[in-house]
């Protein structure tokens, strides 16, 4: 090959590198023109995002993706799910590989301020706990001195674990795995005495054990884990849509609008309900979506409470109580700012 060919080759390459300058088109327009929402989810976490035998995804996080697709594209099925490990997830948002990350991700200050990310809100208030074998006879996390602990790589869990043991003057040995399933396998094969993770995940993982009755979740909750969707920083229009999809989801429950009664509710005379459902308001259009965006949400996945009960609550094998995740009117922390 002649040297001059090389020069031309490098010139072309460089031109490509230059062209890869920051994209300026908004995510909202990109999603609309693509006709598909790309949503980052957990590889497999019962109740939050897990594929069934036919490859259909379901869970609380998946419902948020569906609701968002219904709002932006009018069809909850127009979602491409990208399963991500804990290690990959934040980079996937940063690089623009996904439009939104709905993957039980803890909202922390460093993630929010230094990684070029924005947390949309909180759709599940969680806390870190411990799962142990009943045979060990442990009743409290304070008795875990010297234990081997299986933990998932790249999570806030790893840091809380270190803090908790240090604060209580205890020693531990952490065995770090890449995926939830490997972590569970380590626990199941007795490599570790304890498995630590967010409480919601512990129940899901326990249900996957060959004999779930032999393991028990300890009462201590050692951290705050507010979980919520994440988008890239610097795209306010998209941030607004994702955020108000979440808030409308909460407000639908508060207003008593369900997937079943939405038809009657559209005829309601209650001004709050009329505004929320876009009967006599143009709030949706101002945001760049349809005025009836809340109707699209509730028709797609029901209100937040319905989705919660179906995926992780009474209607699911996990049987998690609403607790902190009840509406603020019922003693919980779920609170949607007013739609007006």
């Amino acid at each position: 090959m002649k040297a001059s060919h090389w020069v031309i080759g490098f010139g072309v390459l460089s031109a490509v590198a230059m062209a890869a300058a920051p994209a300026s088109a908004g995510t909202l327009e990109t999603v609309k023109s693509r006709g598909q929402l790309v949503c980052g989810v957990n590889t497999s976490l019962p109740g939050f995002s897990a594929p069934d035998e036919k490859g259909k995804w379901s869970g609380l996080d998946v419902d948020y993706c569906k609701a968002l697709a219904a709002v932006v594209l009018g069809d909850p099925a127009k979602v491409k799910y990208v399963p991500l490990t804990a290690k990959e997830r934040l980079t996937a948002v940063q690089t623009g590989e996904i439009d939104v990350l709905a993957r039980n991700t803890t909202w922390t200050m460093s993630r929010d301020t230094s990684l070029g990310l924005n947390f949309v809100g909180v759709d599940y208030y969680d806390g870190q706990g411990f799962l142990v074998k009943k045979a060990l006879g442990v009743k409290s996390a304070k008795e875990l001195n010297g234990a081997s602990v299986c933990v998932l790589a790249g999570t806030t869990t790893e840091l809380n674990l270190a803090d908790y043991f240090r604060a209580n003057g205890m020693k531990y040995q952490s065995v770090v795995f890449d995926t939830g399933d490997q972590t569970l396998q380590g626990f199941n094969s007795d490599r570790c005495d304890v498995l630590t993770s967010d409480q919601s995940q512990l129940y899901g993982l326990r249900s996957k054990l060959p004999d779930p009755g032999k393991a028990v979740v300890l009462p201590e909750v050692i951290s705050k884990e507010p979980l919520g969707p994440v988008v890239r920083q610097g795209d306010d229009a998209w941030f607004n849509v994702t955020r108000w999809t979440l808030f409308a989801w909460f407000n639908l429950e508060e207003a008593g609008v369900t997937g079943k009664n939405v038809g009657e509710m559209l005829k309601s005379t209650n001004p709050d309900v009329k505004r929320l459902l876009g009967v006599d308001s143009d709030l949706g259009a101002k945001m760049g979506v349809g005025n009836d965006f809340a109707v699209a949400i509730v028709k797609a996945v029901g209100n937040y409470g319905e989705s919660f009960e179906r995926n992780v609550g009474k209607g699911s094998p996990l049987q998690i109580a609403r607790g902190q995740n009840a509406l603020w009117t019922k003693g919980g922390l779920i609170y949607g700012p007013p739609v007006r």
Binding site: V7, S14, A21, L115, A153, A162, D163, D178
Partner: protein
């Protein structure tokens, strides 16, 4: 007189070559600078913080196993070295054992003993055709499933314990004065090295045999031993004991390390075996016959005549197997062995979010390790290469 023909500069091949080379270098540099600046610009646009300042911050997470002192209060920079040393450890161990196993299997495949040759063949064909990641999982869970839980560990005289948590053995604890023993050992080793050179020269010059190994052993063991006794035996043993959930005290060989080490050894050993076999078969059969005619035994023929010549063929492909092994060790992350990829590119990357910096550092480490191995092996290759006289 003929008129001197002047060549125009753009027709002078030398000048043309120089110009083109300069242009290519300039283009490459420009490309690199552009890529670098573009990356920085993109990250700034996305409000991602850059720089290596994070290396000084407190890490705040635990690591299963470390060759240097480490706990949660050390920095992210320290986690880099913990991971790096763990990678070097498993690669080093793997290279040594894979070489031994590979040479053994490679020579066995050419054995006259039918059973030995077939066994070596079966080993090679099975283990080089199964993906390495599967083998790592297999050994890891095979080890974990068969061994007992820590409270029911296999107990050897209350000194050595074997369980799912690893092999716990007594470990020496050094007291003050031990550094003199270390110095004595170092001095003895230097003396042995000088002795070996003197012995070789004398034997080559005079043909006289000197009882080298006996003297060397006496020096290497005697000198440090004497200093050890003079210093008042400054060493005690820390014996592992079951306290609560796990063993405390002593040294431990973790199942993660064993599984990874074993898998890397067995997998790479098959490739080395084939390289060794091809190297031996490349040595002309006349050499073997000539050596046999001189009355050498079969073992001596292999050791003194065939292998030294085969090494010339073996070393270059062997080097690339070593490089593969070092790079394959990054699969450690699948079973939780805290190597560089698991610790630094896993947890540290996630806690700090500094993807570009962390990935660049990790990649340059593997590049450096590979180049060092390559350099050492090339040096060795020069020594064993055929010297034309």
């Amino acid at each position: 007189m003929q008129p001197t023909r002047t060549i125009k500069p753009w027709n002078d091949p030398k000048i043309r070559a120089l110009v083109f080379q300069a242009a290519v270098i300039a283009a490459v540099l420009w490309l690199a600078v552009t890529l670098f600046r573009n990356t920085l610009l993109n990250m700034e646009h996305r409000n991602i913080q850059t720089g290596f300042g994070f290396l000084g911050q407190t890490a705040g997470f635990g690591i299963l196993f470390s060759l240097i002192p480490y706990d949660e209060s050390y920095s992210y920079g320290r986690t880099f070295f913990v991971g790096l040393l763990n990678t070097v450890l498993v690669s080093g161990l793997g290279i040594v054992t894979a070489t031994l196993l590979g040479f053994l299997a490679g020579i066995s495949r050419l054995s006259r003993n039918w059973l030995v040759a077939r066994l070596a063949e079966v080993y090679v064909e099975i283990f080089r055709n199964v993906p390495l990641l599967l083998q790592i999982f297999f050994w890891y869970f095979a080890v974990l499933q068969t061994l007992p839980a820590p409270r029911r560990s296999l107990n050897f005289h209350d000194l050595v314990f074997l369980s799912k948590r690893g092999l716990y053995v007594p470990a020496p604890v050094f007291g003050p004065g031990m550094e003199w023993v270390g110095l004595a050992l170092l001095a003895a080793l230097i003396a042995v090295w000088r002795l070996s050179r003197w012995e070789t020269r004398r034997r080559e010059a005079t043909g006289q045999i000197f009882p080298f190994w006996r003297v060397a052993a006496a020096l290497a063991i005697g000198a440090p031993g004497l200093v050890f006794l003079l210093a008042g035996a400054p060493m005690t043993w820390s014996v592992p004991a079951l306290r609560g959930f796990n063993f405390a005290g002593g040294g431990v060989l973790l199942p993660e390390l064993v599984a990874l080490w074993f898998a890397l050894t067995v997998y790479t050993g098959t490739f080395i075996a084939e390289i060794v076999r091809s190297g031996i078969q490349a040595v002309s059969h006349g050499q073997t016959e000539a050596a046999a005619a001189l009355g050498l035994k079969r073992g001596q023929i292999i050791r003194l005549v065939v292998l030294p010549q085969a090494l010339r063929v073996i070393i270059p492909p062997l080097t690339s197997q070593y490089l593969n092994l070092a790079k394959n060790s990054s699969l450690a992350t699948a079973i939780g062995y805290p190597d560089l990829v698991n610790v630094f590119m896993g947890t540290t990357l996630n806690q700090t979010g500094q993807a570009v910096e962390v990935v660049a550092m990790t990649m340059s480490v593997y590049l450096t390790i590979s180049l060092v191995i390559s350099l050492a092996m090339n040096g060795y290759n020069k020594r064993v290469a055929l010297k034309e006289r």
